[in-house]
């Protein structure tokens, strides 16, 4: 399988490890990722909040670049996904308005978790794991951009998605049932209004703790960064690490959770590290 790949800026910066894990697991699953040549900003955040025109022109250029290869486009970042989908919809309706001659590519724009949770991909993963994550009670957290507005994202179940849960289940972890899986992580306010960000993140983490989770997993780099960075130090709530879905997949596939990766977290990912350490010790004990 060959896919066009659109990493976007986060995956070259704060979420560099996300990019690495996406590439690693795709390699393992024999999925060829072809980076869209000369891709540019997806148009999210500053662009689309400043000017609709710019917010559309930027992703349109990316789509036109992808048209040449024609493969489905894999997008790990929820914001990039949302912008590319919006541009794709607009182009399909009226390419002329955007000065594009004809636009009717056969490709789909895929967000990472809905891509990985397809039955055939899940089946392909079976047998690729050298460690399972049994004992990990985890809250699957989606945020907003990969799902809403469903008319843009084409999400089937935008209020109660289950793609991350499906993946976590085959990893042997136990996804908890909880109420805040699509709540706002405060992404766009995190710099301007940290007070609001702390409140919203606090609500999310509280809900995850109440549901019995010891960690969270997400498929959005903004959610990951926000929820880890805006957990208030004043509350006594246990710190809640937020993993990328591909980070967990890679760890389970390789059977290791290296120090280097652990250091990318602002909140200690000890709960995952412990699983690997315990398993290691058991193995040694057995030996």
């Amino acid at each position: 399988m060959r896919l066009s790949y659109y990493p976007g800026c986060s995956l070259e910066g704060t979420a560099l490890d996300y990019d690495q894990s996406v590439r690693a697991i795709c390699r393992n699953l024999e999925i060829d990722l072809v980076e869209i040549p000369d891709w540019n900003c997806c148009g999210a955040s500053s662009a689309h909040m400043t000017d609709h025109e710019t917010g559309m022109r930027l992703p349109i250029r990316n789509l036109l670049l992808a048209t040449e290869a024609g493969h489905d486009i894999l997008v790990p970042c929820a914001a990039c996904f949302q912008r590319l989908k919006a541009a794709d919809k607009a182009l399909r309706v009226d390419p002329g308005f955007w000065d594009v001659g004809a636009y009717n590519p056969a490709f789909n724009i895929l967000h990472i978790s809905s891509f990985l949770a397809q039955l055939e991909i899940l089946a392909a993963m079976e047998g690729k794991f050298s460690r399972n994550l049994a004992g990990l009670k985890i809250a699957c957290y989606y945020g907003c951009l990969s799902l809403r507005n469903p008319r843009i994202t084409d999400a089937g179940n935008w209020e109660r998605p289950e793609t991350l849960e499906r993946i976590m289940t085959i990893l042997g972890a136990k996804p908890v049932a909880w109420s805040h899986k699509t709540e706002c992580c405060s992404g766009s306010l995190t710099m301007a209004r940290p007070d609001i960000a702390e409140k919203l993140v606090g609500d999310i983490v509280d809900a995850a703790v109440k549901a019995g989770a010891t960690a969270m997993v997400t498929d959005c780099p903004m959610c990951q960064a926000n929820v880890e960075s805006r957990q208030s130090e004043e509350t006594n709530a246990p710190a809640m690490p937020v993993f990328f879905i591909t980070e967990l997949l890679e760890a389970a596939m390789t059977g290791t959770y290296p120090q280097k990766q652990q250091k990318t977290h602002l909140v200690s990912p000890g709960v995952l590290a412990d699983i690997f350490r315990n398993a290691e010790m058991k193995k040694e004990g057995a030996a």
């Binding site: 209020e159 109660r160 049932a177 909880w178 109420s179 809900a207 109440k210 019995g212």
Partner: protein, 1210 residues
Amino acid sequence: MTGIVQTMSGNNQPPTAAVLVIGGGISGMQSSLDLANAGMKVYLVESSPAIGGKMAQLDKTFPTNDCSMCIVSPKLVEVGRHRNIKLFTHSEVKSLTGDAGRFTATLVRHARYVDVGACTGCGLCEIVCPVTQISHFPAPPAEGEKKTRARGKEKKLISGRQSPQPTRSQKWNFSVDNSLCSMCGGCFKACLHGAVTWEKKQVAVIDQEKCTGCGACFVACPEKFKAITIEQAADLDKSVGAAVHARSQLLKKEYQGKEQGVCIRCGLCVITCDKVMNIGALKMVEDGIEASVDICQVCGACVSICPVNFLEVEQVTNKVPRPLLNSFNEGLNGRKPINIFYPQAVPRVPVIDEASCVQLNTGACGTCASICGVGAIHYDHREEETEIAIGSVIFSPGIEVFDARLRGEFGYGLYKNVVTSIEFERLLSASGPTSGTVARPGDAKHPKKIAWIQCVGSRDHSCDRDYCSSVCCMYATKEAFIAREHDANIEPTIFYIDMRSFGKNFDDYVTRAKDHNVRFVRAMVSRIFEDPLSGDLELRYVDESGVRKSEIFDMVVLSVGIQVPQKTKDLAGKLDLDLDRYGFVVTDCYQPLATSRPGIFVSGAVKGPKDIPETVCEASAAAEAASASLAEARGSLITPEVMPPERQIDPEEGLRIGVLICHCGTNIASVVDVEAVTEYAKTLPGVVYAEHPLYTCSQDSQERMREIIKEHRLNRVVVSACSPTTHEPLFMSTLQQAGLNKYFFDMANIRDQCSWVHPDDPLLATEKSKRLTRMAVANATAGQPLPEQEFAVDARLLVVGGGVSGMTAALEAARQGFGVYLVEREPVLGGQLLHLQRSSDGRKFADFLGDLKEKVLNNERIKVFTSSEVVEQSGFVGSFETEIVMPSGGTRVLKHGAILVATGAEEYRPEIYGLGTLNTVITQSEFETALENRDGNEWQHLRVVMLQCAGSRDPDYLPYCSRVCCNHAVKNARRLKSMYPEARIDVLYRDMRCYGLGEVDYSRARREGINFVRYDPVENPVKIIAEEVGIEITVVDPSVRLPVRFHPDLLVLSTGMKPRDAEELASMLRVPRNKNGFFIEAHAKLRPVDLPSEGLFMAGTAHGPKSSTESISQAQAAVARAATLLSRKSMKMSAVVSVVDPTHCAVCLTCVRACPYGVPFINNEHSAEINPALCQGCGICVAECPAKTIHLGRYDDQNIRAKIESYSAS
């Protein structure tokens, strides 16, 4: 679209006088009864195992708070036993061929596996069935291969917290049959108690002293030898499964209240798994039970028969258990594969579910058939096809509720304490899963704060449910109201958008609910968060002032909308019916019952959301529409009623009284000790038989009553149950069918007047029930057989009022073959419709009216009297005489069998805001007329403000909602906008009550740029200054929370409807009107077009405000109801009438003056006389007569005295 079916041209054969009714809910039942009572043969097809539909699932009904089951069950029974209604339950329509008047339908009766004719509905099969789950059945053996048992590989020990405590209670004795023993030693190895002695090549011997009766040996003995036998266990003669059940029941009783969860090694689970289910996944071991979790079929039998709750389904399998859920209770509790749909079901016959029954899937078990006393269970039933000939079809398959999962933000399906409104109905219901206790499904706690969220799956474009479901505002109010009746600690809150209480007396009901501490919040809840630890729910919403709120509730009820099920859409496709985009059946607004296919008619919520009374009305109307073209063949296919000859009671034979004390589910039995009352009744003088049925009114109980009367040669029957008003006719007709004079009967009301009012004092309530029963027995003892007189019926109908309702009724009655007198006060026919211009789909009313008038005037069966009025009215049902005065001043007496009141209503014209003085202030209908007659462009930039509820819902003017004004305003506003797109329209409203599909037009109006601004007469009143120089209107627009000012060119007032003056007519007919002047129906829910006096019906706006389409439908309904009388040749009248004994009459005229109906007169013999046909049996004259010479059967002095005397006796 041609609704009116033409009689077959070129074919002189009469049509088939039979109708197929699809759907056995309240709609189908009402249609069936009206048809069958008017001489049509009916085939009623219902896909569920029993009739009743959604109404049977409801707890109470608005706006009267009547118990839904109580009012529907007489109808269930009547349909079930009607000789001219052939019931096909658990059946579907496969195909329909032919044309109107002569269709052929193929019906498929699904295999029920229980013989409807033989089954008595005792329910024993359901009790003994051990299966509680949808099994993972082992794959059937490949063809040609012998079935072999799988061997377990994955074993799991279930040990519990304590080692087994073997019991010898209810022990079975096992012994070895020497002739069969193969001396293998299997039993020896299996025994955990050292009770088996065996040596190689020796027959095993069981030491009964050591044996605990666990049956390990029995299970271990190889199937091919069967050398170990059980001696004398209860029900063993039937089957091992039956015996297991019997022993399990005895042990359960013994261990009740004792410590649970410790294995008593009774062995029943192992025996069941091996010998009943033929799986053999369980084994008794020293520390407990060993389960082969891989071969377990997950039927749940081992768990359900365990007397001490030691096992759990999850423990014995490695698969995910799938519990069987009771669909009638909305999945809130479990059921068995063999299941009676609901306790009062008609027919009360179970169905075996093929998906979960072990016998049907693997051939094992078969316990139910072994236990059935009448041999009604047949596992070899197959689906059957039947062809029937019919003339018309009524399509009334009903609706389902919206799948609340599609509104994920409310967490339905994930949060346990979020339920749907229909689930909440079941939680409220006395026969529901919690027996009427309001408990949270998550933890069975009693919730305090409960929220209702309105418009879940209604008025919602996001999930393609743009329409309003019409019933939710009212049912939510009712549920909140009733929840507080169940538990006064409950604090209900209803979150709503518009309060659409548009029906008759609905606003009063909402006000009452508010007085009963039901809180209403105008807000749409955006999200629910569950606290997973407490199960409590946090609701987020924005209140009216724009502030974001968060509030915690214990439980949330989603007021789910109604929708057409996919199955129904498919069936409609098969029948070739046009549906709209939501799946509702498309009809024409002038022919509201006719579908796109001639000969097929539609009724109920499948043609648009509606409540019960509207459905009942439409059902009658559909019955009328479906039978009109078949009228010439009326009566050709029915079986006339034949009552057995009445048994003459020999005065010598003495009293033989039978007494039935009803449980009424738990309505009575949860308070009153019915068994004690029954035992007490047996001791009363003359009582030879007494019993206590679960529901005395159910069909099987009624059949049983007939049998008991015959078997015990009863000559009196007493029922202690509910209200005689609702149920006495049913019981009396059962007496007649058993050959007993129906007046040898009495009822004691131990529910409404005892268990319902004394729930806190069961002991005294039981004593009171005994006393009430004793009094009824005494009364029955004094009972006399009364003869009923028969008289001829005049098959003509008098219609009073010549508006659209009256004319439609006249025309339809004529098509039914009845003569009609149509009396109209005005010089022309047409009524209020003359003042309106266009129908909801834009056609001119004038064309429709002209056509209708012509048909009425040219119909030779209809005699029209315009400018005429009723001045005198006498007679009785079947034989009325009405005097009318004609324009000439002359009078004329009309003779007829029934009366239909259609006196109508008119637009209200209050003197407010300059209406009547300023030409810039007009009413909606004036605006509609002006719009119609407009030409040119001077309205191009017209500024219009429409004020809704102008003089409506206002205690100083019309206190009620007129139902039609919101739709009327939307219609006119859209028309103006379509003619003059630049015109500006602002509609000031309180609640936009665009119910049903009207909502679609309302949302279109908003999209088309018509502004809607909400006001409130108290919180946010509209200030209007209307003068010659101009109009200024100020109001705060809640959407921007700022005052806005309008200077319209026109102020259009939606003033509502007021009934036309019918006071004299009402008093002549002796029928009541409500405080607003609308006629009161006989029963708000189930008799919406009947007036309280027999033979009198009503239609149209005389009943309450409604649209022209609704009036047409109601007119047809009233004709259907009248046809049930007019189609009879003769009628019997009640024998409970006053009779004067002339010997003591002093001709004092007391009775003449006292009678409210003016019946007594002084005859030529110089004595008072009472015409039995006119007497209403009220008894006033009897009480007043100074000479005590008037007698009233059943209520004579001897009866009353007997009752009073028995009251004080003990």
